[in-house]
């Protein structure tokens, strides 16, 4: 078995999010792991996945990340921001994003931390999270699985909606609400526990359930048997290297650790 980094493990887990997707899903991939994960899915089992060059054009092959060095994206259409916003309510879209906080309902925060009127930390703003989450399938990546990110109670500012019935008229979830997975440096989570509770789907090599739970501010659903997150294949590693020729993935985690943690 070839050696692989934690970043590469997370990228492959990110690709796996699209395993049972619509063959022509429109994927919005924000951040390096989502971008490379979605690109890997398109290069392997989901060639019909629709994605952009990161700015304006749909592309027929994923654009490698970082400096282009003369490469011209293979355009197959236009996807400007207005078109994105017009398409979101249609629904055949999967947004794979990196919020700052998430809670037990799958509610996300990208706006601010602390008092809303004078926040301790101001971030980007809610961006497209409100629209994504009630219309599209949603997955997340967290580079640091800690109880500061996986918070007790609710996130400071609910920017992305989740499975919290108290927040909807009549307690009825919008039909488009469909959270899929969370990839972290420790594990893969999904929303397949009772009433969409967050469940540990797989543990990265060398990680225990207890370690994940200790770094999570709310109770996780623990299945009887938790598989190990599948190791990247050599084919996947080769494609990742093509998608990331400048090895930006080496900077996702401090010191670029191995995916197989030393016991």
């Amino acid at each position: 078995m070839s050696d692989y980094s934690l970043a590469e493990l997370c990228i492959c887990a990110g690709a796996d999010i699209f395993r049972d997707e619509n063959p022509e899903v429109f994927a919005t991939l924000i951040g390096l792991v989502p971008r490379l994960g979605g690109s890997l899915a398109k290069r392997t089992f989901l060639p019909g996945l629709m994605m952009s060059d990161g700015e304006y054009y749909f592309v027929s092959e994923p654009v490698h990340v970082g400096k282009r060095n003369g490469y011209m994206p293979k355009r197959e259409g236009r996807i400007g921001y207005e078109r994105v916003f017009d398409l979101i309510p249609k629904g055949n879209r999967h947004a794979f994003v990196g919020p700052v906080q998430v809670d037990r309902f799958g509610q996300m925060n990208l706006s601010c931390i602390g008092d809303y009127n004078a926040p301790k930390v101001t971030m980007l703003g809610v961006r497209g999270l409100p629209g994504n989450t009630v219309n599209n399938r949603t997955s997340m990546f967290f580079g640091a699985h800690t109880s500061r990110a996986f918070v007790a109670g609710e996130v400071d500012m609910v920017s992305g909606a989740g499975y919290n019935p108290d927040r909807y008229p009549g307690g009825v979830y919008p039909p488009g609400l469909d959270h899929r997975r969370i990839v972290t440096n420790l594990c893969v989570l999904d929303f397949e526990g009772p009433n969409h509770a967050i469940r540990v789907r797989s543990l990265h090599p060398g990680v225990t359930f207890d370690e994940v739970q200790d770094n999570t501010g709310f109770d996780l659903v623990r299945p009887d048997d938790i598989p190990e997150t599948p190791a990247p294949t050599s084919e996947q590693l080769n494609i990742i290297a093509e998608l990331d020729p400048h090895n930006l993935r080496a900077n996702i985690f401090k010191d670029n650790p191995s995916g197989r943690r030393a016991a």
């Binding site: 400007g80 979101i88 509610q107 809303y116 409100p130 629209g131 989450t133 609910v158 909807y168 919008p174």
Partner: protein
Amino acid sequence: MEYPVIDKTMSVADIVGELRSGMTIGIGGWGGRRKPMALIREMVKSDLTDLTIAAYGGCDVGMLASAGKIKKLIFGFISLDVIPLEAHFRRARSAGEFEVMEVDEGMFQLGLKAAAQNLSFLPCMAGLGTDVMTYNPDIKTIENPYGEGHYVAMPAIKLDVALCHVSEADKLGNSYIGGPDVFFDEWFCRAADKAYLTTERIVDTPAFQEDHKIMRMPIERNLIAGVAEVPFGAHPTSNGPDYGIDVAHLKAYSATAKEGWDGYVKEYVNAADYVKTVGGADHIRSLPLPVF
């Protein structure tokens, strides 16, 4: 017999002279791209105050914030794109220096489109289940009048004035945007009582005969009250394909959020020759387009 001739050309100072304290002003472009920065600098210099600013914002919002011009900000995000967080916005927002109406990016476009169509709102799902509703108690939900469920009734974002920067314009107010994404500039202009453009070049109308240009002319000229020619008027934001984002300038600008904003104003905002002060025309032309 003399027939009327339309000529909307005016100066940047003339345009800002049309603005009044307390107005609601929409700003075109997106984050670090194609912002009407020459107008923003002129606004920083002015004695305008108590503005409500609506934007897919970047350093336009950051500069107006640090200049103390903003009473209320309508936004979905504020970012410099290549630098994700906007330091001046963050400082002012965390200091509680202005009110906010923080909404989803798609809700924002619906707010502009509602205003453009003289509607009080447009419905959407975005916002349901989030604190967008908590912190904007004025945004109502409505029952689906034709079936099950509820919608958010995104209120119109009615603008007094819209300000945008384009690649080319003629003196009638026809305009062409050279970058691939025209963003929401036409909706800002349609949502406003009056809209003003700055442009890299004033051209004669026949310049728009070219097929590739005609597809990127989203703004109707009868929305436009004035046009000012300002080469490199989007700097330090990009104006594709002519020039990219001035990342080094934006880094230096960002550092002045903590200390040195007055110095930034003195050196750049008040510069007698802005283009020369930031490095000259050749420097700006050589700035690479951002890669995302």
